[in-house]
Amino acid sequence: MPPIEPPDGSSKGMGAPITRRKLLLTGVAAAAGIAGTSGAIWTRKKGLWLGRFEEGSSGKAGETPRVFDFRVEQAAAALPVVVATGGSPSALARSALDALGGIGTFIKRGERVLIKPNVGWDRAPEMAANTNPELVKTLCEMCWNAGAAAVIVSDNTCNEMHRCFDSSGIGAAAKAAGAEVVFPRDALLKELDFNGEAIRSWPVYPHFFEVDRLINVPVAKQHSLARVTLGMKNWFGVIGGLRFRLHQSVDRCVADLATFIRPTLTVIDAYRILLRNGPQGGRVSDVKVAGTLIASVDPVSADVLAATLFDIKGEDLPYLRIAHSRGLGEIDRQRMSIRETAVAS
């Protein structure tokens, strides 16, 4: 049966009848659209996008905590905890790394490195709310010199992300050193089973873990609940989700994150330290210029020594006690090998 043509022969406009061909084509297009959309949603739910991130983890699903290990293999325990004093942030970094045998101890040619500063707040460098930008720049340059294939700077900030990277000077510093600044995207968050004591599973940004080496570069600040926020608490910045809830059990959460994430190196910026109104500060009078930098492969030792700048003993910080008991590092100063270096200024 031939299709019925309208009397005037036109098939345009609102009055045009739906031909069989047109109906079929529309149907096929609609079906393809629905199939494509559901396919995309299905693959997303299945987590099929994960790729490298999944392979890179050395943890196993089950009751043992999942661990992302970025440590260098050889005899790391023999390396000292370095306390450098008396120079610019850049000079402090060079001095400390020299004492650890140079950046080449940690970064090999062709490795991808992520530098994780604290860029939490929309504050100027003088307020000591964020890691010193000059330090970040120097570390980036060192990584390039060691032959790194990629140097990435990233943090999940508290205040608006772009403002934090701009006002802190860290965005400009990273770019000046040729590093890539990655702004975490919530759309790429992946819920991971960590099997920790307080954190069972939590959404994380995969890009922090899709690297060969991870350097933790926090700034030392007063914090009303954790008392001081140093290296281990800085891992709050690689996870997403409703982070505000972690404070209800802050010590166990900090220790858990330190259990999951084993950095290549912890470099604590204490060039300026924030004594009051942490973790944001806001006045120059809240800040003390301590002119210090602490670097260690042992995250617990680094935090213990940084805490002394606030006249706090490591043993008095519950999260360090928990971390020590889990074998994450040394809490007793007497048992640490401490190397002090003074930079001629």
Binding site: A40, T43, R44, L48, W49, G51, D122, R123, A124, P125, C158, N159, E160, M161, H162, R163, D166, S167, G169, F183, R185, A187, L188, H223, S224, L225, L242, F244, R245, H247, Q248, S249, V250, R276, N277, P279, Q280, G281, G282, R283, V284, S285, D286
Partner: protein, 548 residues
């Protein structure tokens, strides 16, 4: 000879008019897209100024300037530009409508690109209609309300209407779709496309997508009005410009003074009505009818379309009886009706609102805002401040500020908080409803008190430490003032098993609190926060003080 020259000139002028429309539309969009955070870094490291004249179009708006003058007796920012536009209109007519106005251009394109109407039906639609005088009623209504300091011109001023619709509804809608597509591609697209999708996302984030996905309350209505208006242009070409636009009406009145006009040669005309087919303003260009100068957009289509060269624009055109009427076809009833309606609107909204008796708690105005009465006299609801706010804390008011304050900016801390070192909203406000504010004045500097927008109050029934004995310091951690407005009282509490523990209970120092809402934003009790900001104590309002 005259007609031959005119016919040769006209198509060139049409191209010029189209180029002008295109360029101004492009400029408008570029400036709108630049009204966003990553701004020029000034102010000791803080990016607090946008390096482009993003207020340009609103400053060139004579209606906004006139309303500001009438309602608040103030000369608007950048008033010289508005004066220049007005002077140009008096000189040649409504050139702004036909050559510049971005909303006019959008209506124009919708109405003429593959038009719904053709032939005689289109010609009929383009004849001058009585309802074209509605816009004069709209104009006089708004202006008479302005006299009594009720300023509502922003609802229908074309530039405010367009900026608001695009900023709050259309662009966020586009961003939502593009973001979803790029997110899906980056996450689960083919391996080959993930990198490019990620790069495209990063490139589009600042100008188009927003730092985070913008969501504005009541944007559905803002967008619906806009889409409906554009859609109507398909059936009634330039419906907005002909029937609604109060700026067009104002310019129509000015155009009556213009010595520039359409010269019609009845002797050359064969009544083909092709001029009407292409007429944008429905101003009766056809010889034999009276040309309505106040309606003409100077699009010049009629002169280009006329196959006989019977139409041309020139200064001091002849045959005045054909050129114009003595007064624009306002309809005396419409003028009086508009004035009366505008005046009647004043007691209607003022007596029907308790907001003049007590301050509205959720009416938290942006930092730098002037007192509420002056704010309502100045704010044109353009939405620039809401577009530029990096946390989307500034939202179009729905019920928070009364009927007069519809779509004026209010801070909604559950959506976003006022970023301590940011003063961008005060730099883009075209009418000084938000007065220019330095970072120093906003934060109080090293030793002063910050600009106070409101005060945070703790809901002890919901607060985790106060009510449940669970440690939580998030509000204090987020409080940006120094010394912090939130401090702790240490208290010993008894737990269910009889044990005792010490816990930090947050307390608010109302003198230090600036009402930024960071505490409410960050409070882990997600639905309704355990600490909430209201306008109480806002420094701009003497009647909203509660401290001695």
């Amino acid at each position: 000879m005259t007609q031959a020259r005119d016919r040769h000139h006209a198509p060139w002028l049409i191209q010029a008019r189209r180029a002008s429309q295109g360029l101004f539309l492009l400029l408008f969009f570029l400036l709108l897209l630049e009204t966003t955070y990553p701004a020029r870094t000034i102010d000791s490291g803080f990016a607090n100024e946008i390096p482009y004249p993003v207020r340009l179009f609103l400053e060139a708006d004579p209606l906004a300037a006139l309303s500001a003058l009438i309602s608040s007796h103030r000369v608007a920012r950048g008033v010289l530009l508005a004066v220049a536009v007005a002077a140009g209109t008096v000189l040649v007519g409504r050139f702004f409508c036909g050559w510049v106005c971005p909303l006019g251009t959008l209506s124009h394109v919708i109405g003429t690109w593959r038009p719904r109407l053709k032939g005689s039906r289109r010609i009929d639609r383009n004849r001058t209609k009585g309802w074209q005088s509605w816009k004069y009623a709209v104009l006089f209504g708004f202006l008479s309300a302005s006299v009594f300091s009720v300023m509502q011109i922003g609802l229908l001023d074309p530039l405010c209407f367009l900026i608001r619709s695009l900023s709050l509804s259309i662009l966020p809608g586009v961003a939502l779709v593009v973001r979803f597509a790029l997110d899906t591609l980056t996450r689960s697209g083919p391996e080959l496309l993930r990198g490019p999708a990620d790069a495209l996302y990063n490139a589009l984030q600042v100008p188009l997508l927003g730092l985070s996905q913008p969501r504005f309350q009541s944007a559905w209505l803002v967008g619906l009005l806009f889409v409906t208006m554009l859609f109507l242009s398909r059936f009634l070409p330039r419906f907005w410009c002909r029937a609604i636009c109060p700026l067009g009406a104002l310019m129509g009145l000015m155009a009556k003074l213009s010595p520039f006009g359409l010269q019609k040669r009845k002797d050359l005309c064969d009544d083909c009505n092709i001029c009407l087919l292409h007429c944008q303003g429905a101003d009766s260009p056809q010889p034999g009818a009276r040309w309505v100068q106040s309606e003409c957009h100077l699009c010049l289509n009629c002169t280009a379309a006329c196959p006989r060269g019977a139409l041309s624009f020139r200064f001091f055109p002849g045959t005045p009886e054909e050129r114009t009427k003595a007064v624009p076809d306002l309809g005396r009833r419409r003028v009086v009706g508009g004035l009366a309606a505008g005046a009647a609107f004043v007691p209607l909204v003022r007596s029907g609102s308790i907001l003049s008796v007590r301050p509205a708690p959720a009416r938290i105005r942006p930092p730098g805002s002037v007192a509420e009465a002056a704010f309502l006299e100045r704010c044109v609801k353009c939405g620039e401040c809401m577009r530029v706010c990096p946390t989307h804390a500034l939202q179009p008011a729905w019920t928070e500020a009364g009927i007069e304050g519809l779509w004026s900016p209010v801070l909604v801390p559950r959506i976003g908080y006022c970023e301590w070192n940011c003063v961008l909203c005060s730099t883009v406000c075209p009418t000084n409803a938000i007065e220019a504010l330095t970072r120093e004045r906003k934060t109080g500097g090293e030793n002063g008190y910050p600009f106070k927008m409101g005060t945070a109050f703790i809901d002890r029934g919901r607060c985790l430490p106060h009510s449940l004995g669970i440690p939580c310091i998030v509000c204090e951690e987020w409080c940006p003032t120094s010394p912090k407005a939130i401090w702790f009282e240490e208290a010993e509490i008894v737990s269910r098993d009889g044990g005792r523990q010490t816990i930090k209970l947050p307390r608010v120092d109302p003198k230090r609190c600036n009402g930024c809402g960071a505490c409410e934003y960050a409070c882990p009790v997600r639905d309704s926060a355990a600490i909430r900001v209201t306008s109480a104590g806002e420094q701009r309002d003497a009647n909203n003080q509660f401290l001695l």
